[in-house]
């Protein structure tokens, strides 16, 4: 480490800022977690205190696991999220490769067109999407959600990945061509591994809005068999009575899978694998 970054005052200041940020960011999550283990009176009496011997209760989790089919909701959410991420990464990377690697008429225009979705929220097209899904008989299927989320994730993926693909050495791709590799193998074997960290970034950015989304599950797939976790948790929020224990427990459980996915991708984020390709 250089002298400038290891001076004690600087490092204390940096850590102070980081710790403050962590506290602010984690506070709501912690509040949800601790209250999910308390009984109803304790949640309202002192929401910030830790569960004690007389306030501790698993009633929320019991309700969640008894009522409704929560495991199924989890499964639905996971299927939708994982399949959507895979499709977004695959098609996004392929489009980005084509845009950054090949000179063809309308290349820039195509890039702008594909990036348009970053600025225009896909929800504006909800009515048309619903009509489309009704017409094609996809309402109340996970496929409808996967299709919509793939479309929603692609613009940002294409935009970020094409920037990174431009940085992959031309010489490396050309060496592959001279050795007789097909364009597909150049893409999958040479280019993709070198942009893996940026793929992980895209995966994280794509994953969270999909997992948290309430809008499209509510509109396109509200049936019992296709409910996602966020939609499933809604049934504890009533117009007159809200089962707070159950809501908090459901939310706490919903954090887990996303946390695991994030850990998987962030390992990729950190792993530097470009060394040795050039220079």
């Amino acid at each position: 480490m250089s002298k400038a970054t290891s001076s004690p005052t600087r490092s204390i200041a940096a850590h102070g800022v980081l710790i403050l940020y962590t506290v602010i960011a984690l506070f709501p999550v912690i509040v949800i977690l601790i209250n999910s283990f308390k009984n109803r009176q304790a949640i309202f009496r002192s929401p910030l205190s830790l569960p004690g011997p007389e306030s501790f209760s698993l009633i929320g989790y019991q309700t969640v696991l008894k009522q409704g089919d929560f495991l199924l909701y989890f499964e639905n959410s996971l299927i939708v999220t994982v399949v959507s991420i895979v499709l977004v990464l695959l098609f996004g990377a392929m489009a980005a490769f084509a845009l950054s690697e090949y000179r063809f008429r309308g290349n820039t225009l195509m890039g702008l067109y594909l990036a348009l979705g970053i600025m225009i929220p896909i929800r504006l097209g909800t009515v048309a999407i619903l009509q489309l899904m009704v017409a094609s008989g996809l309402v109340n299927t996970l496929t409808s959600l996967i299709l919509v989320y793939t479309a929603q994730g692609l613009p940002l993926a294409v935009f970020i990945l094409s920037e990174f693909m431009k940085q992959v050495s031309d010489d490396l791709k050309n060496a592959g061509r001279i050795d007789g590799l097909s364009e597909y193998r150049i893409f999958f074997r040479l280019v993709l591994p070198l942009v893996r960290p940026s793929m992980a970034t895209v995966a994280v950015f794509t994953m969270i809005p999909i997992w948290n989304d309430l809008w499209f599950p509510l509109i396109l797939a509200p049936a019992e068999s296709t409910k996602t976790v966020t939609l499933g948790a809604q049934m504890f929020i009533g117009q007159f009575v809200t089962n707070w224990n159950a809501v908090l427990a459901a939310l706490s459980l919903a954090i887990l899978p996303v946390l695991i996915l994030y850990l998987i991708f962030s390992r990729q984020l950190i792993r530097g694998i470009t060394a040795g390709a050039v220079k």
Binding site: L172, N174, L181, L190, V278
Partner: protein, 340 residues
């Protein structure tokens, strides 16, 4: 001149290349014979790499024809042109070991495994790569990586080797060693090679023939000493040789030529008498030789190169005299019109 004989390996016929409206290569004709070592030199951006990529098939020519070993190759993909290329940035496959880096091209071409092993062994012995065969590119030094890249080209046993500034990322000492290795490789394989470089010394020492390019055109093709002694024009005269040739307006010396040129090493220096009287502005002592920058009354600032040590402090008065027959004369278009 060492006019090359033997079969034609590469023939370029009126090759041009446009990027949009910009014409980068403007009609190149060239004939390369079996066993020749051809060096492309020219200022940055003149189209050397583009021309090399057109030959390799990585870029399509806008017009003209490329013939390799008697075949017109415009519709042949790079892998089937019988060429191998070594890149400035090495371009090794990061996920493959040294051995697999060398094997990949042959495997793709469907060469039998025994034959691949034999060729890899020969190449790795030739380039002293045996200790590194199991390593990955990230575990090698720059010089070792470039040797692997050369090895990857050698195993293909190509009709034509293409090198794009292969040594420019190496430090000075390694550059000399690798240069030697490439020269030996050329001799041992009796291979035909095209080599792009910025480096004067590489061009002069390696080439059978040098192709001087400028703004997408060939200025002159010839053996190194031919370009040095009989440059076709002012551009070639200024480009070949270091330090650069001195150019003097003809009118200043009462000559009819537009420009006169004299190489720094073709001037004699005398403290007492000579053609141009001047004062030393700066002296560079390189050990083996000395460069004097002299502000002369008649000819302006002139560089003179002397062999060995020469003590001349800035401010000293010296007289410079061109060696007879070494002064070149150029007309208005820059063409060489004789010596004096």
């Amino acid at each position: 001149m060492a006019e090359a004989t033997g079969t034609s390996i590469l023939e370029l016929k009126a090759v041009t290349k446009k990027f949009g409206p910009v014409e980068v290569i403007r009609g190149i004709d060239l004939d390369v014979r079996q066993g020749e070592f051809i060096v492309f030199v020219g200022p940055s951006g003149c189209g050397k790499s583009t021309l090399l990529r057109i030959i390799a098939g990585l870029e399509d020519a806008s017009a003209g024809e490329v013939w390799i070993a008697g075949q017109e190759v415009s519709s042949t993909p790079p892998a089937n042109r019988g060429i191998a290329m070594v890149f400035q940035t090495y371009a090794l496959y990061p996920h493959l070991s040294v051995r697999d880096n060398m094997r990949l091209g042959l495997k793709q071409a469907g060469t039998p495994a025994a034959e691949i092993d034999r060729r890899v062994e020969v190449a790795s012995t030739m380039l002293s790569l045996d200790p590194y065969l199991k390593r990955f590119p990230a575990e090698l030094s720059g010089g070792q990586r470039q040797r692997v890249a050369i090895g990857r080209a050698v195993v293909r046993e190509p009709t034509l080797f293409l090198f794009d500034e292969p040594l420019s990322n190496l430090d000075a000492g390694l550059r000399v060693n690798t240069r030697l290795e490439i020269a030996q490789l050329h001799r041992r394989l009796n291979a035909t090679m095209i080599y792009v470089t910025h480096d004067q010394v590489e061009a002069m020492t390696l080439a059978d023939r040098i192709v001087v390019l400028s703004a997408g055109r060939i200025e002159q093709v010839g053996a190194p000493m031919e370009l040095y002694n009989n440059p076709a024009n002012e551009f070639v005269a200024g480009f070949i040789g270091s330090p650069k040739m001195n150019f003097i307006e003809g009118a200043r010396l009462g000559d009819k030529a537009k420009t006169l040129g004299i190489r720094p090493e073709h001037l004699t220096v005398d403290p007492n008498s000579g053609a141009f009287k001047g004062t030393v502005v700066h002296a560079e002592h390189l050990g083996g030789d000395t460069n004097l920058y002299v502000e002369t009354e008649k000819a302006g600032l002139i560089t003179a190169r002397l062999f060995g040590e020469y003590q001349a402090a800035p401010g000293a008065t010296v007289h410079l005299t061109p060696l007879p027959g070494r002064m070149l004369r150029f007309d208005e278009t820059g063409k060489t019109i004789g010596t004096m």
